[in-house]
């Protein structure tokens, strides 16, 4: 890391509007593009404080400040546009959390980095609606919450209750939500309301280590710990009546359930395995990065391709996982209210991933380009 006085560092940052800062080239070595981040005044202070702390003499903290991390990502081979910090930006491993970066698929030097996806591959949120009103839930709040706890295993060391053997696992990894549908855990229309229809087609379970599969098997259908949750929520305010209506959200006080979880130990192990492989690929292909945590491989290398296929399998695992918990949530509500889940209108509104890398078409400098977009939030 380049060490300068805080005032010197600030010369590389420019506030271009009240919510947006530019990070100029030279802030970190070898930047191919500029960086940019979006913040309000509270987040702006946090970002600049991270930088100021890192500039203190003798500071050998664990994390690089988020601004430095955005700049390090801007130095990765093949990056296009800018290295972007979205409004949840803060210091992470390698990539900042909230860091988004796209790489040109037609450039043979372009890379894929597991650090740009994160350990919890396809961590994401989904929202289920109900036709219940807050006043229906209020009298049995405790029982309903307890019932959710009884149905969905949570926390460290918890094991899933969805029956699954090694062969089911292979199929689930390949099929994603199509597996959940075939096994009767989800409704056909759930797929329509899920990113990628709940299935990444390039998933290849044979690119996943036995170790990852072993870690994943007992954890399918478990919520996890940390910031993961299954939460009963109430519509508080409707901003856009038309859009809300399309989602089946029609009134204040309507009860919803949000599930935030990912690929559990399975995804963590896929990421760990890939980091080890990529360290070797970096030595071989002489890829230099500004931070050891930014382990990466060329998209077209064996390691790069294997990672993308294993990552897609982990993404499918996460969708099966969230689908399994959707099933369990519907069961918990059905038991409490003695009504079938479809009579409770428990439809999936949407499921979106926030830790993933995907191949997408975008316009760069006026020309259409095929890009590998990393998103980690």
């Amino acid at each position: 890391m380049v060490v300068r006085q805080y005032n010197e560092e600030l010369k590389y940052l420019e506030k271009i509007n009240p919510h947006c800062w530019k990070i100029k080239k030279g802030f970190q070595p070898n930047m191919n593009v500029e960086g940019v981040f979006y913040v309000n005044s509270t987040l702006e202070k946090l970002m600049l404080d991270e930088l100021r702390n890192a500039c203190r003499p003798g500071m050998t903290g664990g994390f690089l400040p988020g601004v430095k991390q955005i700049a390090n990502v801007a130095a990765l081979p093949g990056i296009v546009g800018r290295s972007v910090g979205l409004p949840d930006v803060h210091s992470g491993y390698g990539f900042a959390i909230g860091n988004m970066a796209a790489f040109d698929m037609s450039d043979p030097k372009s890379i894929v980095s597991p650090g740009g996806v994160g350990f919890d591959i396809n961590c994401g949120v989904r929202l289920l609606r109900t036709n219940l009103h807050e006043k229906d839930v209020q009298p049995i709040k405790e029982q309903l919450a307890q019932s959710l706890f009884d149905h969905i295993p949570v926390g460290v060391g918890s094991k899933g209750i969805i029956p699954m053997n090694a062969r089911d696992m292979e199929e689930a990894l390949e099929m994603g939500m199509d597996w959940s549908l075939r096994e009767g855990y989800v409704w056909a229309e759930d797929k329509e309301h899920c990113e990628e229809y709940g299935r990444m087609l390039n998933a290849d379970p044979s690119k996943v280590s036995l170790r990852a599969k072993k870690r994943g098997l007992p954890q399918l259908g478990t919520l996890g710990a940390g910031n993961h949750y299954a939460e009963i929520q109430v519509v508080d305010e409707i901003y856009d009546k038309y859009a809300a209506g399309k989602m089946g959200l029609e009134r204040i006080g309507q009860v919803c359930v949000m599930i935030h979880s990912g690929s559990r130990g399975f995804g963590h192990q896929v990421a760990t395995d890939a980091l080890v492989q990529m360290e070797k690929a970096m030595k071989r292909d002489k890829i230099e990065t500004n931070d050891r945590q930014l382990a990466c491989a060329r998209i077209n290398s064996v390691e790069g391709q294997d990672y993308l296929k294993a990552m897609a399998a982990a993404a499918n695992f996460a969708w099966v996982n969230r689908s399994s918990m959707t099933f369990l949530t519907r069961q918990a509500f059905a038991k409490q209210f003695k009504m079938a889940p479809d009579d409770l209108d428990m439809h999936l509104i949407y499921d979106v991933s926030h830790n993933v890398a995907k191949i997408e078409e975008h316009i760069v400098d006026g020309k259409p380009k095929t890009l590998l977009v990393h998103r980690k939030v």
């Binding site: 050998t60 460290v156 060391g157 918890s158 870690r215 710990a225 963590h268 990421a271 760990t272």
Partner: protein, 159 residues
């Protein structure tokens, strides 16, 4: 590789003193462990990780398993050692360890063999602490200064 409970001797139930602490980070935790040798600092670091997952007072020594870790350098060895321990907890035998004894500590070929003492993790018996997602190289430090009798390790775990 598993020994029957009957195979455990009195010595196996001896609980080593705690030589580790947890240093807070933004959203993560840094394990800091030390000892009279680098081997002991490694053992303590592993126990620190288990201590973050539950309260070790609730764990009994009922079984012993053996793990092996290899790497290309010292940092890699520490990383893989902890990753093997995390794996032992995450899959059958779901072992939560109260005590670790490294029986082979080869710093030239970077190889560790370790005996892991504990029991299967049981919700209800063992308080649920924090889930460890992965080990990281982030700000990893290994201090190996025999002339000052200084042996310490620092590891950030992703939680």
């Amino acid at each position: 590789m598993d020994e029957e409970l009957g195979g455990l001797t009195e010595e196996d139930f001896y609980i080593p003193p705690v030589k580790y602490e947890y240093l807070d980070h933004t959203a993560d935790v840094q394990l800091h462990a030390w000892g009279d040798s680098l081997k002991e600092a490694f053992e303590q670091c592993g126990m620190a990780m288990f201590g973050y997952m539950t309260e070790l007072n609730y764990v009994q020594i009922k079984e012993v398993h053996s793990i092996e870790a290899t790497a290309d350098d010292m940092m890699g060895l520490l990383y893989h050692f902890l990753d093997e321990l995390l794996f032992l907890f995450s899959v059958e035998p779901f072992l939560i360890c109260k005590k670790l004894v490294i029986t082979e500590f080869n710093t030239e070929e970077f190889r560790i063999v370790c005996k892991c003492y504990g029991e299967e993790f049981q919700i209800g018996k063992h308080p649920q602490g924090t889930e460890v997602k992965a080990i990281t190289y982030s700000a990893m430090q290994i201090i190996d200064e025999p002339k000052d009798n200084k042996f310490e390790v620092f590891v950030i775990i992703d939680i």
